[in-house]
């Protein structure tokens, strides 16, 4: 690939029926680009978890995916409340999701840990009251 391929998605807040749409679309695009099932799986899981987090906690946001020669970069940006304690949020099982969200099967406290687990790098840039931007990369070479 000589030029980077980019995709942009707006993620609706509080809309659980369309949550995951961006991840499904990215999955299709990556398949068309010929990536291995393992790479596609890792990107899909990380992006789905991020998408769901933005729907649950931040009233939506944006998702950008850039495919370069070496890696797939996923940037999730929201204007939500920010994460007060990132190391606590990174612990498996820790969740601040409300009961109505848990009733849908979310709130396992696995979102951020899954994002870290399935990507090669993950950076969290969060400011209380301003928002959170998460940048993840999956190397494909």
């Amino acid at each position: 690939m000589s030029e980077n391929v980019t995709f942009h998605f707006d993620v609706d807040g509080e809309n659980f029926s369309s949550a995951g749409e961006a991840s499904v679309l990215v999955k299709k695009k990556l398949r068309q680009l010929g990536f291995s099932p393992e790479i596609i799986r890792r990107v899909s899981i990380a992006m789905y978890e991020g998408e769901i987090n933005m729907v649950i906690h931040a009233n939506g946001g944006s998702a950008d995916v850039t495919v370069t020669d070496e890696d797939i970069v996923i940037t999730l940006a929201d204007k939500g409340p920010g994460i007060p304690d990132v190391s606590l949020a990174m612990q498996e099982g820790f969740s601040t999701a409300r009961d109505n969200i848990r009733a849908l099967g979310f709130g396992a406290g696995m979102g951020l840990p899954n994002m870290k687990k399935y990507t090669d790098t993950m950076e969290i840039d969060t400011v209380l009251g301003v928002g959170t931007t998460i940048t993840m990369t999956v190397k494909h070479k």
Binding site: F16, V24, R41, Y48, E49, G105, A108, M110
Partner: protein
């Protein structure tokens, strides 16, 4: 593994799509993040969750089918989403434990 014998012993009814010929494995669980990271392509995913996010997770993980346990039903709009995404949804009256037990004894 062939789905036919399993479908028969469990009394599976297709609510969306048609029963796949084969499956590769089984995952049982209701928390979507857990399912997301443990369901692999070709699996039967047994759950009692029936909201539309189940369809998104089944689609992303490429499950062979979702089995709704304990007689749980799905709303028509969720089934429509399943049809649109090509996801097979099967209904079963047995509990999650009974379904796992019966699949294990049939497949072995």
């Amino acid at each position: 593994m062939k789905t036919h014998a399993v479908a028969e012993i469990l009394g599976l009814r297709a609510a969306a799509g048609s029963i796949p010929e084969e499956f590769t494995g089984v995952y049982a669980g209701d928390l979507l993040s857990r399912a997301m990271s443990h369901v692999t392509e070709g699996d039967l995913w047994i759950t009692i969750m029936s909201n539309v996010n189940v369809i998104a997770v089944a689609s992303l993980t490429e499950a062979a089918a979702v089995i709704l346990a304990e007689g749980v039903t799905m709303d028509p709009e969720v089934l429509a989403a399943a049809e649109a995404k090509g996801i097979c949804v099967l209904m079963c009256d047995k509990t999650v434990y009974e379904i796992c037990r019966d699949i294990a004894s049939t497949a072995s």
